[in-house]
Symmetry: C2
């Protein structure tokens, strides 16, 4: 799947088309120059629109960031919940969660970077809403690890800390992943799934 | 050690005092607003100096970023090389490397974020120089892992990929670490050392 197809899929729920074009333009501008160095005029220009046309869809630059952050966090949470609620042993579900979460961060690394690095620019209410989504994301992974511990399949002395580390490892793929590099998103996902099973002391990996 | 003492230690080699003050002001400004949204006037103002006084020490804003990046990368490399060249088994040296590298990223998270997230703003020559330092950093960790594999202490099917994952896990501490949070830099370092020994399939951890 090409970069264009991924972008389309990522923002598929955003309508109308003009609103979606503005969001993808904002992601690119924020990623290149940072949130604070980007103006709504820059974003409108990238989308081939006038600043006035932008304001029909988004009242402020912060609202664009909030929408981007919401889409990114909801997709990530959806991926992890689907893995958590899937069939299979805790080890299979954890490996599935990591594979898919890593792939998402590799394929959508530009969006993921904006989402992760510009959190501080969100307004207070929006920030609180995003933090709640992050807590749920954390909870989905913690649930799988706790299932594995309860089943006697995992050996995890510090469940909260290990959950944090697993998520951190996967999220940081967005920082270093290079689409022209040697490893495909799927290959990184496969490697990381095996490393994470080791981190949780999975019996099959011992 | 307080934040002020850490900052002093971090930039201790930068002289004269005015040059050091400008660097720490630049780190704070870049971290808050991003490189592209920061002007040399902002940086001089934060340091209590005039823009003209800034230019005595740094010709451009990029030169400030380059100096910050150089100091950060050289400190990180020094930490890992010291651990690599220390006494002890590969497991002890790897645990030592992770503990110290994590502590550095937790204690100096503001500098580390600027160093990691603004790489793309470096000029071509400066970027090449920093990439070489990053390759050496990677090499120091890979050396320890290879020692462990050669000694039969570690079981690592993919040494390059695992090295990348170990470094990534430690570096991302700078993103999420909160000085007011529940875990101290030392506690995160300790947890991560044990997780990394599991990632390399260390015999004692199996």
């Amino acid at each position: 799947m090409g970069a264009q197809a991924q972008r389309t899929e990522e923002w598929a729920d955003v309508t109308p088309d003009a609103a979606r074009r503005l969001l993808t333009a904002a992601v690119e501008a924020f990623a290149e120059r940072g949130y604070h160095a980007t103006t709504t005029r820059d974003i409108a220009g990238r989308a081939g629109m006038s600043p006035a046309a932008l304001y029909i869809h988004y009242r402020t630059k912060e609202e664009l960031l909030y929408r981007i952050s919401g889409v990114g966090h909801r997709l990530a949470l959806g991926i992890l919940r689907q893995a958590r609620d899937g069939a299979g042993t805790p080890a299979e579900r954890l490996a599935d969660a990591v594979r898919r979460f890593v792939r998402w961060h590799a394929e959508h690394h530009t969006t993921a970077r904006v989402v992760q690095y510009e959190l501080g620019a969100l307004g207070e209410e929006h920030y609180a809403e995003i933090v709640a989504l992050r807590r749920d994301t954390d909870g989905a992974v913690r649930d799988i690890i706790e299932d594995g511990v309860a089943a006697g399949d995992f050996d995890v002395p510090d469940v909260r800390g290990t959950t944090l580390a697993v998520l951190s490892l996967c999220i940081d793929v967005a920082r270093w992943f290079n689409a022209d590099g040697k490893r495909s998103p799927g290959e990184v996902g496969e490697l990381y799934a095996s490393l994470v099973l080791r981190m949780v002391g999975c019996a099959q990996e011992r």
